[in-house]
Subunit: 231 residues, 2 copies
């Protein structure tokens, strides 16, 4: 959590968020109007936040990770546009899965990278597959969001196949589950072996580029291809 | 800056970093051994940090942005490996340009994205160009790091051409310069017009995907392609 986020929460009159996230910040809730809501009610949560803000209140809508990366910021703006909302909206950036998972895995994101969500709920699978192939062929380090859920189990299998068509089976792969939480697990494996490790709803998978190597169970992507700089 | 970073700085016995960054955290330096160094001496800075840590000291190596994204984490590990360093190394994630620039621009990173550096100092231009074409063709929102320097002025011109081969001239483009600093500037423009705005060494450029639109001088990328969710 950033100092800027703390400052915003301290000043807020109304704090709105998913229950699990609000439970992580009890000190900020005292004396405030607190609206906690359940998973999957994102649209409702945003609407309530905008209505309260429009009425002149200082409102903080709490999100996990970075609200600006695959998260709530877009929905807030989409609804604000739809309702012609005139309140001032500020996005406070935070640590997204790519930031926290990369830190846990060593230094995988030292070079160009792509982030791809395997969730095909709002995106046709053909678009996702095209992106996987593009990222694999152009040697991007690739962070895979939403790799698997109870319902979606094949997508990560297919993603691995696509990468194997362009990269060595020994390419390092990192799997971080529940990053920064008590039940966090970190696995550094390879494209070849990655499916033998547990990958779930709370996992982020990072596939190295052609230069990525492992050292002491960490993934390291060197900064360049030419070795121009002297260590 | 995160609470975790504050905690690490408070506990550190030695604080090492580029002068400009250390000047931003005067409160943490009091009573500490402080080693400030000039730009472009990154390798030396890492070596000093590792040597001090190896001697048993608690050392904080300060970096701007997120050390794990195009930054110092990789160099630290590369040198630690080379010198068979046995000290414990921890990367404290921070806000990278993608996090802070996205927040300033609205909500451009709500869907799959790529980050590409146009610096060809350590990477052959052909590799960079291949990545630009792959990201453009597969409809990634694309964050461009190091878009232009005094020496490198043509790369951003070529990058724009590549994107224009795959996206409409009206595609929203955001340019954030000196994010979160006093001299920060934010421009929301289009692929067609982007070169008429100032782009420099401290700029990050974010090119929207085919769905990105603008509202009130903000870039918004909707979360899906199918409109499956009800607003």
């Amino acid at each position: 959590m950033t100092l800027a986020a703390c400052e915003v929460l301290e000043k807020a009159e109304v704090i709105i968020g998913y229950k699990t996230y609000l439970e992580l910040i009890p000190d900020f809730l005292a004396g405030k109007e607190v609206i906690s809501s359940e998973m999957m009610k994102e649209v409702e949560r945003c609407r309530i936040a905008l209505t309260a803000a429009e009425s002149g209140k200082n409102v903080a809508l709490v999100s996990g990770g970075d609200p600006g990366i695959y998260a709530m910021a877009g929905l807030v703006y989409e609804l604000a546009k739809e309702t012609a909302c005139t309140c001032r909206i500020e996005i406070i950036p935070g640590l997204a899965a790519i930031n926290s998972c990369a830190a846990r895995l060593g230094a995988p994101l030292m070079h160009d990278f792509a982030a791809i969500s395997l969730s095909d709920l709002l995106t046709p699978w053909e678009v996702i597959e095209k992106r996987l192939a593009a990222a694999a062929a152009a040697d991007f380090v690739t962070a895979i969001y939403n790799p698997r859920s109870k319902r979606r189990t094949d997508q990560i299998v297919r993603a691995r196949e696509i990468f194997l068509a362009h990269r060595l089976p020994s390419t390092p792969v990192g799997i971080v589950t529940a990053a920064t939480r008590d039940n966090e697990t970190i696995v550094v494996t390879s494209l070849e072996k990655m499916l033998t490790s547990e990958i779930g709803m709370q996992s982020t998978v990072i596939i190295g580029n052609s230069q990525t190597y492992t050292w002491n169970d960490l993934m390291i992507t060197p900064r360049g291809y030419r070795g121009k700089y002297q260590l």
